[in-house]
Symmetry: C2
């Protein structure tokens, strides 16, 4: 074939990002559109709109390419089983139950592989980003929640039903705040973007964070994670203190995972990377303090993701190029 | 060769158990002796006594065998690196820093492989016990602490430096009781044998557990996990209530691990298996309640270990037979 092009599409709660990956792994084209199927309570049958959206992204990419598209990879938020069915998708309610792989490949006439979005981002960073060459790596994506992906012994860890890497709902404080998942004290209640907002609102209600509250329009209840980041970037001491507390929760979960998996490289990505960048040193210090037997282990590298918002789409394309989820081994 | 015999030795804090595994995986001989190198504060150089103990076990086993010994596997409590050096051993202070593999193989003239004890037990149960045939399995050993071992995608997860599976020091309550490791609220502060004792002493001081306190000689401070188990086996309602609380902590950590790894089979073993047996149903119920998206996943099997105290030694022999720690893939 003249040019072996694979498409990768990352489905988020608010936007869909698609790109075309050329034979040497370079991005040839990119398309972005809003996600239309995010209304809570939407019946799974309505998920057909997600298929429409995905097909539209593929057609737009195809129109800008000269070569043949040999495969499509899709990263979706939630539990995606080994057959490419989205089983559980709290952040994409209309998509739950949808056989994305089956429906999209029937529509497009090309093979479609579907995978968890954070796992795709992990594959992207592992094969082309911050974790290249690491046989034991972990990626966490910090956004509204926390996603994750695991590489162990040079292979992507899939788990029995393809659901491995759901790190955000690890309970780190059973008496902690309630989580939409039904439990209390899940890690993402503390160390995600919404966790940062919650920690900040608590501080604001306690009379701190004047500058942050001002940024939020004057109401402590309106404080969000991004207000803290903005104030901290301007060296606001109180905002930096809240970020440091948030960073300790981040380090706690990372040290739990590193203990269980003995990870050499941890890649931190997602929309909150700007916030992490402000406290990276203290996160690394807290992590080392919390890791059992740290003095007897080589140092774990905790590094920022480098592919940005494209990580998931690049990873999805790489999964498709490798011929499926179970083929992801170190090359 | 006439008979390919491999030896497996499990080093515990109080005893050493060795056995000889015949070509078909059957145990041909067994030796048990007390561990002499367990005095806290002993200098690593004193660890030579551990090598003496291990060599004595090997000689006793050899004396009872007709065939040639082709390899020796040793399971040791602590962080054992990929070269077989015991890096960190809070429960075997005299052994820390010891190059067990190098020293023992020089002494014996046969290849020696050293591995973490809980990982050896995992290998034993995976290859000859409760998790045979499972490509994604987890074992936890409940004793004074909690050990663990992970099988993912048909391979034993080793981690970057051979330390994977240290599940006991996963923090599940950062405001919880202090742990000898330096942190607070490690899982093994709650769900191990010492965790059961602690929960029971708290209940006893609060005026509960009359029967258990009597078993302990009348002093609430003397209550240990085994007193709770004994009373619960006699249907004491208060003891069963403490066991149920303990079981919820067990389920919490297991659900964290199953989320991260998407495990199909969880094997529970170790000295506390008698206690778990009394609350297995409620542990399974709590686990299902705590597992995110449980309704959308196949049921995870939580099963008792079947190899008993021999699991670690059998697994150590199997690691040696396979030719080393990195060769452990599904056969």
């Amino acid at each position: 074939m003249a040019e072996d092009v694979t498409l990768g599409i990352d489905v988020g709660g608010t936007k869909i990002l698609g790109l075309a990956l050329g034979p040497s792994g370079d991005a040839l084209a990119q398309v972005r559109m809003p996600t239309t199927v995010t209304t809570p309570g939407v019946h799974p049958a309505e998920g057909g709109r997600l298929i429409d959206d995905l097909a539209a992204v593929v057609e737009q990419l195809r129109a800008s390419l000269s070569g043949d598209v040999t495969g499509v990879g899709v990263g979706a938020p939630g539990l995606v089983d080994s057959d490419g069915v989205l089983r559980f998708a709290p952040n994409l309610p209309g998509g739950a139950g949808l056989d994305i792989a089956g429906e999209l490949s029937a529509r497009l006439g090309v093979p479609v592989v579907v995978d968890n979005d954070a796992t795709c981002a992990t594959v992207g960073e592992w094969m082309q980003g911050a974790a290249v060459g690491a046989d034991d790596a972990l990626m966490v994506t910090l956004g509204t929640g926390i996603g994750g992906g695991i590489v162990a012994g040079g292979r992507v860890v899939r788990g029995a039903w393809g659901f491995a890497g759901e790190v955000g709902h690890m309970v780190v404080d059973p008496g902690g705040p309630p989580c939409p998942c039904g439990k209390r004290g899940c890690w993402e209640r503390f160390a995600s973007g919404s966790g940062l907002g919650r920690l900040a609102r608590e501080a604001a209600h306690a009379g701190h964070l004047d500058h942050v509250v001002l940024l939020a329009g004057g109401d402590p209840e309106s404080v969000r994670g991004e207000h803290v980041t903005t104030a901290a970037q301007a060296d606001d001491a109180e905002a930096l203190a809240v970020l440091a507390e948030w960073g300790r929760w981040l380090a706690l979960g990372l040290s739990n995972l590193a203990l269980v998996l003995d990870t050499a490289v941890i890649v931190v990505g997602g929309g909150l990377l700007d916030a992490v960048a402000l406290v990276f040193d203290s996160v690394r210090r807290s992590f080392a303090e919390m890791l059992e037997g740290a003095a007897f282990r080589p140092e774990v590298a905790i590094v920022p993701a480098v592919l940005g918002e494209r990580a998931g789409a690049i990873g999805a394309a790489l999964v498709a190029r490798r011929g499926g989820r179970d083929r992801l081994v170190a090359s």
